[in-house]
Amino acid sequence: MSGVEQLSVQERMLLKHEVEEFLFMEAELLDSRCFDDWLSVLTEDIHYWMPIRRTTTAREVEREFTKPGGMAFFDDDLDYLKMRVDRLRVGRAWAEDPPSRTRRLITNIRVTDIKGEEVAVGCNFKLYRTRLNSEEDSWIGRREDTLRRVDGHFKLARRHIFLEQTVILSQNMSSLF
C-alpha cells in the first residue's frame, strides 16, 4: 500500500472524502435508476467482474473463487454494461418490468492503493432489492474498485465484486453492483 502510506493522514482523509462522494453519487445513480448517467461515469476500458464462489475445506480454501478469465457471474466490458442498460429501454426486459426497487448500503470504504491517476478502493456492501409485493433479495459482499481521475473527476475503471454467497438465492441478478 506504499502509495497510500506516502500520504499524510490529512491527505488520506481528503482523498477518502472524494472517493466517498464519488461512490455515493454513483450508487445513487443506480438506486434512482439513472442508468445512462451511470454509464457516463465509467471509463472506456472498465472491467466489471464477479467470480463464482464455492465452499471448500479450510485446507483448500484458495480454490474458493473462480479465476479471472474463467467462469463468472459477471465478466463485462463497457459494451456488455451498455447492453444491460439498453435492454431496459428497448422493452420486454421482464426482470425489470415492473422495475425493481433497490438500495445500496456502501460501508467500510478504504483507500488501498494509489498509482498515478488511479486510486484502488475497497468497500463492503449490501445491495437490497425488492420487487412486486415486497419480495426481497439481499446480496452482501466486498468490492474492489479502481477510480481513475479523468480531467479532474473520478471515473470507475474497474469493479471486482466478491459476493459472500455461493448459491445465488435469488431468481436472477438483474441489478448492477
Binding site: I52, T56, M71, F74, D75, G91
Partner: protein
C-alpha cells in the same frame, strides 16, 4: 388402477392439470419414482481428473459425493454417515485422501468403505462388520463419453439403453465436437418454480421472442438463431427429447456448399455445420440428427444447451428449483472458438445472463399461480402443433419431425412424467411406457 393413479396430462388434448406443480405429495412421489429411479447426471469425467478429486451433487434431495478413487474409478456415494447420519463432506468440490466424519471420526476410503473408527476394538467390543457400515454407494454408476450418470435403482436398465438414440444423440452433439473439458465454476441459483416448468421451458422456442425480447432487440443473439421457422423434433423412450432449430437435407447441403466455397457464416448454423463436416461427425450424428441444432433434454432434468453448456434443474421442493450451469471447452479447438463460447457462457444464462434473467419471474409466477383456489382448477393449454405433424422414419432408423415452432417436446415430457409416476417399478415402467409416436396424433 395404478395406471390411472395420476391423470394430470391428457395426451389427446395437450391439456394439463396444474396441480402437478404444487402438490407436496406429488413432489414426494417424484423424488422416489423419478429421481430415485432415473439415471441422473452427476458430473463430467474432466471435473475430477485425479485420484481423490471429488464433486458434490444431488439426486433429488439426496446429496452424493462423486469421487475418483486410487484405481481411477468414479464412485458415487451417499453423503450420510452410519452412526448418526451426519454429512462426511461439506465442500462443493476438492481433493482428499479419505472422508473423515466430523462427529465421531469414522473415516471412509474413496470407494466409501469404512477404514477407520476411533477405538474400534476398545469401544466396539462386540465387534462391528466394517464392510457393512461404509458410505452407501448408489446402485449403478456409468458414463457415456465422459458424462457420468448414477441411479439409485438397481433395476434400472443399462445407461446406454436408458439414453436410447435420442439421449445419446443429445450428448453426441457435444462429444463429437472434440475432447470435452469442463471448466472450473458452476453457476448456481434458485428459482421459486417447479422443476418441471424449468424443463418444459428448454423445449419452448415459442417464448424466446417475447420472454427474451429485450436481448433480441439488442442483437445479443441473431433473430434467426433465436426463433427460426425451421424446427425439428426428436423424441426418445423414457422421456428424452430434442427440440428446436432443425433443417432439411437440402438446406444442410446448401450450407455445406457455402462452407466449401468459403461463404460459410452467411447463416447462423453454418458455424455448426462446419464442425459436423469434420471426419466422422455427420456419420455419428446420423442423417437426421446432423440436421438438428435443437435443445436435448436427458430425462428428467439435464438440458444440453448450444453454448457448450449443460444445465441441471435440481428440485428443492414443489416451489423451488436450483439451476446449475456447467460449461466446457473443447481441448483441441482454436482458442478463439473457446473464447467465443465462454463469452456466451458468462453472458447469456445464469442469474445475471442477458437471456435467462428474464425467465425466472415467468416460471415462478406460473408455479405460484397454481395455488389459487380458482386458478388451480383452470386447465393449461399445451396444444401447439398437436396432431399437425407427421414423423418421418429415416432409413437409418432415426425419427424426426421437420416442422415449425411447436409443443411436441413439452407434451412428451409431461406424458413421460405421468407414465413414470404411474409405474410402481422399473419393470412396470418398461412394459407400460409409450414408444415415441411414429406419428403424433
Amino acid at each position: 388402477m395404478s395406471s390411472l393413479k395420476h391423470d394430470f396430462f391428457d395426451a389427446n388434448t395437450g391439456i394439463i392439470d396444474r396441480r402437478m406443480f404444487t402438490d407436496e405429495a406429488i413432489y414426494q412421489e417424484e423424488l422416489k419414482k423419478i429421481f430415485g429411479r432415473a439415471w441422473n447426471f452427476v458430473c463430467h469425467q474432466s471435473q475430477i481428473p485425479e485420484p481423490g478429486d471429488y464433486f458434490m451433487n444431488w439426486i433429488g434431495e439426496d446429496e452424493v459425493i462423486v469421487v475418483r478413487d486410487r484405481e481411477g474409478k468414479v464412485n458415487v456415494l451417499l453423503n450420510s454417515c452410519p452412526p448418526r447420519g451426519n454429512t462426511v463432506c461439506r465442500a462443493e468440490l476438492g481433493n482428499t485422501r479419505s472422508f473423515f466424519c466430523s462427529y465421531h471420526g469414522w473415516n471412509f476410503d474413496l470407494n466409501g468403505s469404512l477404514i477407520g473408527m476411533p477405538g474400534e476394538d476398545v469401544f466396539y467390543r462386540s465387534g462391528i462388520d466394517k464392510k457393512e457400515w461404509g458410505l452407501t454407494p448408489v446402485a449403478k454408476v456409468d458414463d457415456y463419453k465422459g458424462f457420468v450418470f448414477a441411479t439409485l435403482d438397481p433395476d434400472a436398465p443399462p445407461l446406454d439403453e436408458y439414453l436410447g438414440w435420442v439421449g445419446r444423440l443429445g450428448i453426441d452433439f457435444m462429444a463429437t465436437q472434440g475432447e470435452v473439458e469442463f471448466l472450473d465454476g458452476v453457476q448456481k441459483n434458485r428459482i421459486q418454480c417447479n422443476w418441471k416448468i424449468a424443463v418444459d421451458n428448454l423445449y419452448d422456442w415459442y417464448h424466446v421472442k417475447v420472454s427474451h425480447g429485450s436481448a433480441m432487440k439488442l442483437g445479443v443473439l441473431s433473430d434467426e438463431s433465436m426463433s427460426p421457422m425451421e424446427q425439428m423434433v426428436m423424441l426418445g423412450e423414457y422421456g428424452h427429447g430434442i427440440g428446436g432449430p432443425g433443417i432439411s437435407e437440402e438446406r444442410y447441403q446448401e450450407s455445406e456448399e457455402r462452407i466449401r466455397t468459403g461463404e460459410g457464416g452467411k447463416i447462423w448454423y453454418d458455424r455448426d455445420v462446419v464442425k459436423r463436416m469434420r471426419p466422422g461427425v455427420a456419420e455419428q450424428l446420423g442423417p437426421v440428427g446432423k440436421r438438428s441444432f435443437g435443445h436435448p433434454n436427458i430425462f428428467p432434468n439435464l438440458w444440453v444447451a448450444l453454448t457448450h453448456q449443460v444445465c441441471l434443474r435440481i428440485p428443492r421442493g414443489p416451489y423451488e428449483t436450483e439451476l446449475w450451469w456447467f460449461a466446457y471447452r473443447l481441448k483441441d479447438a482454436p482458442e478463439e472458438e473457446n473464447l467465443f463460447y465462454q463469452n456466451s457462457q458468462n453472458h447469456l444464462f445464469g442469474p445475471a445472463g442477458l437471456l435467462e434473467q428474464d425467465d425466472g419471474e415467468n416460471w415462478s409466477h406460473s408455479t405460484r399461480g397454481a395455488t389459487g383456489t380458482l386458478a388451480k382448477t383452470r386447465p393449461l393449454n399445451l396444444s401447439m402443433g398437436l396432431g399437425a405433424d407427421k414423423m418421418s422414419q429415416d432409413p437409418s432408423g432415426q425419427v424426426g419431425v421437420e416442422t415449425v415452432v411447436n409443443e411436441h417436446g413439452q407434451r412428451w415430457h409431461y406424458q413421460s412424467w405421468q407414465e413414470w409416476m404411474n409405474s410402481e417399478s422399473w419393470q412396470e415402467l418398461m412394459t407400460n411406457h409409450s414408444m415415441p409416436p411414429g406419428e403424433i396424433v
